[in-house]
Symmetry: C2
């Protein structure tokens, strides 16, 4: 995409990387994860195919990088929601925000199509830790059940709330959050 170098070389390379991930995401949305080729990505990014190989060695790496970027940006959004909410409403606010994100970005999972992704993406582990810490905090306030480790409750939350991407209305998403929350209470 960028024809002229921005400021430094590294900034230019970052811009190319970002443009590549954008192009790849669009192609995946159009043809599915399996129907995307390096040639298509290079053309859509506006760079040569050989140049693309100097940035990413294969499609799997590109999709993994895109997935990581997506999860990381969601994580930052959730951190903002957490810091903005009162302590007593923090958990509900964050879980609602996560469900809404899943609802609006049904493509963010990619789940099975990545084989090399260490079987659990780095960013997803951060996400899990983030929710777990939130649950520990809520447990200290005495609102949560204590017969299940916080880590397992976090896993439960993340899976239950991804159901949001199959729902059709925001009202349904809110109901899903309510149901999930009531599973956490004693």
């Amino acid at each position: 995409m960028p024809k002229l170098w921005n400021e430094t070389i590294e900034a230019h390379r970052d811009a190319v990387r970002a443009a590549t991930l954008d192009a790849a995401a669009e192609l995946v949305a159009e043809h599915g994860p399996a129907g995307v080729t390096m040639s298509q990505i290079a053309k859509a990014t506006g760079i040569g195919r050989a140049t693309l190989y100097k940035y990413f060695p294969d499609i799997d790496t590109i999709l993994t990088a895109w997935h990581e970027r997506q999860v990381r940006s969601h994580l930052e959004e959730l951190a903002r929601v957490r810091d903005r909410a009162e302590s007593s409403e923090r958990l509900e606010a964050v879980l609602t925000a996560y469900a809404v994100l899943s609802f609006q970005h049904p493509r963010s999972d990619l789940a099975g199509s990545l084989h090399r992704a260490d079987h659990v993406s780095q960013a997803r582990q951060h996400l899990h830790g983030f929710i777990r810490d939130l649950l520990v905090e809520a447990a200290a306030a005495g609102d949560l059940r204590t017969d299940v480790p916080a880590a397992e409750l976090a896993t439960y939350c993340l899976h239950a709330l991804t159901a949001a991407n199959t729902l059709r209305s925001k009202a349904a998403v809110r109901r899903l959050v309510a149901v999930t929350l009531s599973g956490l209470r004693r």
Copy 2:
């Protein structure tokens, strides 16, 4: 696999189809969904590559068929569990069985790697309907919350319980079922 024809021609073709799905599943477990080729599947099945094309037009169809078979077999198992359990314990028994299946077969989802799969597999819709009917029955007994449609509760259950495939002990699976169940009650 079978070199001589079994009974009828159709039985022979069924045997070849089944052997193909078995071989494909094994290759997927080994190389991931993206790393499997028609050539490999043909060789692993023990048939010629051209012959494989007379059974399945492409890899996507093979993986979809395998996924459907897997879900269907799980569905039959769940139906047996349902019919064996007392009415009062049916829901818990079936959800536990589903969680244990997810726990033992982490590969059954395939989630993102299928593009053509009507975006929701046929068998998975049956599974959703199966759970939904079970929830309607339990609601009639008065144990369930009534502020959320049964279909949404079924979606919630299926997603929450797939978390079982990331857990490490059966005890954790039982805790997950307990948490999920308490989300269903009022």
